[in-house]
Each structure stands twice: as C-alpha cells, then as structure tokens.
C-alpha cells in the first residue's frame, strides 16, 4: 500500500495526540482549507451548470483523512464549510456543501477501510458522492425532481474533480510523512 494508515501512538503523531495539539491542528487545517475555498471563490469561472467546481479545499480534508483520522477530516470540513458559507458561499451554499461533504466523507471512509482503493480512487468516489449529496439536498430544498437531469453532468464532473484532487493529495501525503 503506497500510503499506509498510521497506527496510533507513534512518535510522529505527537502533536495530534494531545487535546491542545488536536485543536491547533484542526484549526490550522481549517484555516488552510478556508484559504483554498476563498481562492476558488474568487476565480471567475462559470461552467453553466451550478455545482461544477474543483473543490480545492477538499484536498485538505483528504490529507487529514489519510494522515490523521476521519474525525479530523470531518471537523476540518464542517468548520471550513460553515465559515466559507458565512463569508462567500451563502447559507444555502453551505447547506448544499454540508450535505455533499457528509455523504462524501462517509463513502470515502468506507472505501478507505476496504483497503482496495488508492487515495485517488477514494477521492474520485468522494467527488462523485459529494455532487450526489448536493443534488439530493437541492432536490429536497427545491422540491423539484427535474434537477436530477443534472445527474450525469455532476457525476462526470465529480469524477474528474475527485481524481485531480486525489492525485494532488497523494503527492502531498507522500511529502507529509510526519504530520
């Protein structure tokens, strides 16, 4: 396995073991993810279909999932989405993102546990699930089933974005043996 999950209690996890260290690490990663969200929000890019974007911020959550734990990844994501929602995506944007992120993280944890998939594969599934989650939230909020016409578009865009993010995270994980 190119990126073995680390067992607890190794010396390299010193910072993440203590409570204070945890808080600091999560805050640091959430801040980093927020910057990525901001960078993405200011790029003027409109593909015509809402919901298609790279989601660079997810690279942070993905690295957290692989180098720390699912709890860390969830915490980083929730903090990032809530603050990004207040700052630039809007409350409804945050709702969509939360739905997507929750489903995406659950799926990614499951795939990662299976041990069959690389970080790129896990991320690809995560990207697809993220978009599906958003689609579900949108369908619930809008009470309009026509929105499922976006399904194929969002599936493929989620795949592509997920693979790109996954490859990026793989490279970062390789350099971050001692997070």
């Amino acid at each position: 396995m190119p990126f073995p999950a680390k067992s607890k209690g190794t010396t390299s996890r010193r910072t993440a073991d203590s409570r204070t260290g945890n808080v600091a690490t999560i805050a640091l990663l959430a801040a980093l993810a927020l910057i990525f969200s901001y960078v993405e929000a200011i790029i003027p890019y409109n593909p015509g279909v809402p919901g298609i974007k790279l989601g660079i911020a997810n690279i942070v959550a993905l690295v957290a999932l692989y180098r720390l734990s699912a709890k860390h990844a969830a915490a980083v994501n929730v903090i990032r989405i809530l603050i990004a929602g207040l700052l630039f995506n809007g409350v409804f944007g945050a709702l969509y993102s939360l739905g997507g992120a929750a489903i995406s993280l659950l799926g990614m944890v499951a795939l990662k546990k299976s041990g069959q998939f690389s970080i790129a594969g896990v991320s690809m599934a995560g990207g697809v699930l993220h978009n599906m989650g958003q689609l579900l939230v949108a369908a619930l909020l809008l009470q309009d089933s026509q929105i499922f016409l976006y399904f194929p578009v969002l599936l493929f865009s989620g795949m592509i974005a997920g693979i790109v993010i996954g490859l990026g995270a793989a490279v970062i994980c390789r350099r971050l043996e001692h997070l």
Partner: protein, 125 residues
C-alpha cells in the same frame, strides 16, 4: 510523480461510474429535453403528447366529437372542431410554454408544456 498511485480497484470503480453516467445520460435523453411538448387532454385525461418541433396533424376523437389539432412550424392550432361555437378554431395559434387552446363543448385542452412537466415528476415518485 504519480507513479504507483492508481490501482486496479480504482480503474474498476471509474469504469463502473462511467457506465452509470452513460446509462443515466441515455435514460434522460429519452425524455426529449430539446423542446416543449404539446399535451392534448380530453376530459382531464392525457390523450397524447407530441413534440412541438415535429409537424403533424392529430385528430382527437371522442365518440362523435372530433377535433383536429395541427402542429406546424413550432405553432399549434385547432383546424377543425365538431362543436357549435368554434371558439377553439378561431383561437390564434399558440407557441409558447403555458399557452393553451380549450374546446369546452368537447372538453378538450391543448397545452404547451416546457421541458419536463409531468413526465419528470413521475420519475421521482
């Protein structure tokens, strides 16, 4: 740089996802999203649904009552009606979503619906 990252299961998963995506696109493309549809209802029930972009003439028969609906060049008009007041025949041709021609004596409604409409609601249920 990316050497040794992608594994067999990844490619398998990608294949499955692509299949689902292609299948979903094919499925959705069946529902003619290209343009509006002409819905003809008689007595509240759907008699037929036709694409507005295809020229055709539909004869709506209900026993002795008949109406002839003409779809031509993106416009819909009623060219013949068996009823006595002929309101629907005198009605101007309709072409935008939401417009309708109604023949009260024959209880017939010709309606133009936008993309989706009833068909898509049926999918979600």
């Amino acid at each position: 740089m990316f050497k040794g990252i992608i594994r067999k299961a990844d490619i398998l998963l990608a294949g499955v996802l692509i299949l689902i995506g292609v299948a979903a696109s094919l499925w959705i493309s069946q529902f003619d999203t290209s343009g509006s549809r002409v819905i003809i209802k008689t007595d509240g029930k759907v008699y037929g649904s036709y694409s507005i972009s295809q020229d055709r003439t539909v004869t709506v028969k209900q026993g002795k009552k008949t109406n002839t609906v003409r779809i031509h060049g993106g416009e819909v008009s009623v060219t013949h009606a068996s009823c006595h007041n002929q309101v629907c025949v005198k009605h101007k041709a309709i072409h935008t979503t939401g417009e309708s021609i109604i023949c009260l004596p024959n209880k017939m409604v010709v309606q133009i619906q936008g993309k989706g409409g009833d068909e898509y609601d049926a999918i979600s249920s």
